[in-house]
Symmetry: C2
Subunit: 389 residues, 2 copies
């Protein structure tokens, strides 16, 4: 059931342990679902209860900890030994008297790690403040450190097999956006378009199935084009309105986001001009991308490319993508914006999304790319610019 | 754009403030997305960055705090005044030097609340340990308290309008499960069934559209029926295997979960017997449900009803449901299990899910109900028992 060869997982753990050593961390407790999947293969929608993976420098294999009913899921989806799959009793779940981190602390004590330096993901969702309090209380001899983004940083550069997965996601992305464009029409309910999009995302292609996206289809029409991140209602699309679509193809939790804009009717001048400026600006920015340039240089190139226009983009231009679970397909590591001096390297994968949201209307287009030896390669090919229907 | 009358939101805030007073809380910072929606109407997929709602006893209206690009979304979906919608600059997002909670702390200082008793949701996802550290650091004069589940407790008893929403979700649930049962067949890919399910969830009915579920379709077939919480692959359903489906109908984020089990081929004896025991046990448990009984009494009734059999259910029988966002449609307040002495009251809404997962095979059936004046009412009607195809 493993999505990757076992040696690929072992290599990921090796890289993780190397970072742990550098940062003086003996034991790392991982609760971010993508990080758990990345290191062990674990793949279940059980992250609504507390769970995690313990990586220790003095133990070759990691330990999965979760709710007892999910232990079989861990046996099925990971390569871990049964003895390293540790399920807590159901009475720990949302209890007024017990907490799953007490169970995690018991394992840490059992292994003799309770006087070590233990890192937790301090700013990742799925590791709450209470989680920290419980661990701290149960492990008074331990030294706690912040292991936030430690595994995310390892994830930043993809293996060839991961790139293959992301290209498969790209293949799905093309089908997803085509389904969306086919579906959006005057008088069609937003929810019916969203249903078609989701159908295309999950069905995938005839050769391989799709997965659920870490962000549901985002559909903004009419007055809602003044903002990103809204979803659908049962309102019908109207004549003379823009429809912004931020979607993704997904293969085994690897994402290839795709965003386009449709105009129903005759687009106003500001819409056409914005579309031209942004699309050309994105094209120029992409031409500049290659290993060795920094993230902030890429963003500066973009700002330069649109500087002749009235278009203003205040938010970051893009970010690192890959394996993820809800609520975010971004990796939280690098951002294309001033101050980010990360140097682009081959097999980094990025989502460039120059979304513009005015008061009356907005425009979105994007590119999901991998950095190559000499430049970049798109994860999919789909026409850019404004789609007029 | 509000889903409820403004007075319903005001009533929710009144109840929240009453609880705050009782618990000695001056200021409550809410970051759980369902709680944010419940108090303000806010509805966007922006919970992958830090955000929240500040409720203060000395201020009538709450304050929405989030990323600047989402402020328009808050203007569109909430009833808050523009001055109470506060967006932080994009350079706070996933920054190495800044944190959104510094911005939240600035607002708290501006309002003169920094020497008050401030509660945060200490064990809710979306409020990380780092969030706490940043608030604590920026507000040294404040006293911090745990406001975990405070709003969730208010959410426990539904209004008539909320019940109406949940019945609409029930109407969708029936269509969703029928789509699943129609789709599952020998030789069909799991992803194709999942695509049909998701299509039915989002399309809803002709009269009203559906929404995205807080938990994606859970589909366990073959060896995977030994566990809950797994999703689909592109594997094809085979002859002589069980297929467990845990799904939901959703209307404006209100859930009516529905779980059923299909057997492809001739079910083995253990399968038929388990289905009978569990289905009859659930029916007997439901007959017992009425206002005044406790959650643990309901569970005891269930255990009694299956005590003549070999079926063992180690995990809780059910929990409170309603409004929610990923990753969970459960409200985290009440659980049907030993020790939970919550007394059932009219307009509580529960999901009873006696899932059984053996090593070789599993069985799931459920009921989503509301407590009435005299007993209970199902949110939908759908045949129970094992579906044989």
């Amino acid at each position: 059931m493993l999505y990757f060869d076992i040696n690929e997982y072992k290599d990921r753990i090796k890289k993780t342990k190397k970072r742990m050593e550098t940062e003086g961390i003996d034991v790392l407790f991982i609760s971010q679902p993508a990080n758990m999947n990345y290191l062990t293969g674990y793949d279940g929608w059980s992250f609504y209860v507390h769970q995690g993976v313990i990586v220790s420098l003095d133990k070759e294999d990691s330990i999965w900890v979760g709710r007892a009913m999910d232990a079989n899921g861990a046996k099925i989806t990971t390569f871990l030994k049964d003895e390293d799959i540790r399920g807590y009793d159901d009475n720990y779940v949302q209890s007024k008297t017990k907490h799953p981190m007490q169970f995690v602390a018991d394992i840490i004590k059992e292994k003799g790690w309770d006087n070590k330096t233990i890192a937790v993901e301090m700013d990742q969702f799925y590791f709450t403040h209470r989680c920290y309090l419980e661990l701290k209380k149960a492990l008074p001899k331990a030294t706690f450190k912040d292991g936030n983004l430690l595994v995310n940083m390892v994830r930043m550069i993809k293996s060839e097999k991961e790139i293959e997965f992301m290209k498969k996601a790209g293949g799905i992305a093309v089908k997803v956006m085509q389904a969306a464009i086919d579906s959006v029409n005057i008088g069609v309910r937003e929810c019916d378009t969203a249903a078609n999009i989701s159908y295309a995302q999950i069905k995938g292609t005839e050769e391989y199935g799709g997965d659920y996206p870490a962000i549901v289809p985002l559909i903004m029409a009419g007055e809602r084009t003044s903002t990103p991140h809204l979803t659908w209602s049962d309102r019908k699309f109207e004549n003379n309105e823009a429809v912004l679509l931020e979607l993704s193809g997904v293969y085994k939790h690897y994402h290839a986001p795709i965003a386009r804009t449709i105009y129903l009717g005759t687009p106003p001048k500001i819409m056409r001009e914005t579309a031209d400026v942004v699309t050309n600006g994105l094209a120029k920015t992409l031409e500049f991308i290659k290993p060795g340039v920094t993230c902030e240089e890429v963003e500066a190139k973009w700002r330069d490319a649109i500087s002749h226009s009235t278009v203003v983009k205040e938010s970051r231009l893009g970010y690192s993508i890959g394996l993820n679970y809800p609520p975010d397909w971004g990796e939280q590591t690098i951002s294309l914006r001033p101050g980010d001096k990360t140097i682009l390297q081959p097999n980094m994968t990025l989502h460039l999304i120059p979304g513009i949201w005015y008061k009356e209307v907005g425009f979105e287009v994007d590119a999901s790319i991998k950095i190559t030896e000499n430049g970049y390669e798109s994860l999919y090919n789909f026409p850019m610019g404004l789609f007029i229907k």
